[in-house]
């Protein structure tokens, strides 16, 4: 399994886009830590990058890479290799490369300047979101035969998770403000990995007190081992389910 992955990684890390992405993250992280007098503020600004830029880059890059690798995948399929192995290797290679870019660009600065709870939760969230949005990219790519359609649909997905979803949550909160919504809000946020990651980081940053009694509940929950387990499992589900679905489709698909 790892053989093919290794070559995919080898190919991608020499990709100019990935290099530019790594450099961008590195420059932004370092300058944020240099400019902001307080590490918490830098982490908050980095959080915006991790929640917005990182999913966008991951999903678009993975999609484009998939379509560019189409003929290569075809060639692999003519070899005595199982389909699951091929698509999974492609996924693993893409995801690993993006992870490496993230860990180099954001991980190292964070570990140098802010290796605390909030920094680590930022890295955790970033890694999860990279894997999740690569997963989603593969799902969208195997579903859409056409590159333009594929890229269109992943942009839409990104738009949905980054922007539209929270708008919908806001609408729900206002339309049902007469009901006790604490649990439902929590559930709703868990259904969007970007929101879940954001809350996970924010609670580590002591924002919870702003949320009153509910905030304290959330903080207790997310701060505990159960909370970490909950967050991790939801994140893992977000990684695994789209990927499994993509593999299923790929296995039945005509190339």
């Amino acid at each position: 399994m790892m053989k093919l992955t290794r070559y995919v990684v080898y190919d991608i890390i020499r990709n100019k886009v990935i290099m530019a992405y790594t450099l961008f993250l590195l420059v932004v992280s370092l300058s944020l830590f240099q400019v902001e007098e307080n590490q918490g503020k830098a982490i908050l600004s980095l959080m915006n990058i991790v929640l917005i830029v990182l999913p966008l880059v991951s999903i678009v890059f993975a999609t484009i890479h998939y379509y560019n690798s189409y003929e290569f995948i075809e060639l692999m399929l003519s070899q005595p290799l199982g389909r699951t192995r091929i698509i999974f290797s492609e996924y693993a290679g893409t995801a690993l490369s993006l992870l490496m870019a993230f860990l180099l660009g954001v991980g190292i600065p964070v570990l140098i300047y802010s290796p605390d709870d909030s920094g680590l939760s930022l890295l955790f969230t970033g890694c999860c979101l990279t894997l999740i949005f690569t997963s989603l990219a593969f799902l969208a790519s195997v579903k859409a035969r056409d590159k333009a359609r594929g890229i269109g649909s992943v942009l839409l997905l990104w738009f949905y998770f980054a922007l539209i979803y929270d708008g919908l949550v806001l609408l729900i909160l206002f339309n049902f403000s007469d009901y006790p919504l604490e649990k439902i809000t929590l559930l709703l946020t868990a259904l969007n990995p970007v929101d879940l990651g954001r809350i996970f980081i924010m609670l580590k940053m002591d924002i919870s007190a702003l949320m009153g009694y509910t905030g304290a509940l959330y903080k207790d929950f997310f701060g505990s081992g159960t909370g970490l387990l909950f967050t991790s499992s939801i994140m893992v589900l977000w990684i695994v389910l789209p990927l499994l679905w993509a593999i299923r489709i790929f296995n039945k698909k005509d190339i």
């Binding site: 053989k3 093919l4 690798s69 399929l77 005595p80 290799l81």
Partner: protein, 255 residues
Amino acid sequence: MIRIEAISKKFRKLQALDNISAQFEKGQAISLIGPNGSGKTTLIKCILGMVRPDKGNIYVGGHPVKQEHEYRRMIGYMPQIGRYPDNMRIGQLFSMMKQLRNDKQGGLDETLVEQFGLKKIYDKPMRTLSGGTRQKVSAALAFLFDPAILILDEPTAGLDPLSAEILKARIIEQKKKDKLILITSHILSDLDELTTHVMYMQDGKMVFLKGLDTLQEQTGELKIGKAIARIMKADGDQEDWIKKMFTPSNEQKIY
């Protein structure tokens, strides 16, 4: 070696393959010809397991194509368009393939690698290669593992005359080694000399599959390529023409 049993395949509204049955044996060199979109590539992809037929079965060396992928160890495939990971070097591509196939017997055939002079450019990344060079790489890969079956999709299309000759010579050599060779082409001309059988397809249907000698006998043309090319250019009435020519009842009347 390859047995095709009544396979059909529909892409949306397009009937790509329509109830095709055929049997290819070792020692044969089959020219798969027909106009664009006649289903040649689809048929090859069915044999390689890339496209799953709606109906019918294909067996390669006795193994059903549907369930397995190990049978592909017997096949060397040269795609119509070879595209490889941009940043992979030629040498890496070859070593990757060797690792992936992991053939125990070690019967590597690097004749083409040498004849095409690929070793000298082992360090070049794939993205810098011209279409012709990529074709050479594809060809060398197809022959690399000394497979019992060679499937070549438009093998000489992008090659310069010299390289085309080298490739042709290699194909002839392989034929002499009692291998099964399947070649698709729009026209036959440059592959006349090595063809033993012609399979003509149109609109997803197999119009005929005959030995070259039979064909020559029936048409009275030695240069079968010219005849077929003329058939294909004769647009509207070609179907009738071919039918007249090859349906058994009419056989005697022609020429």
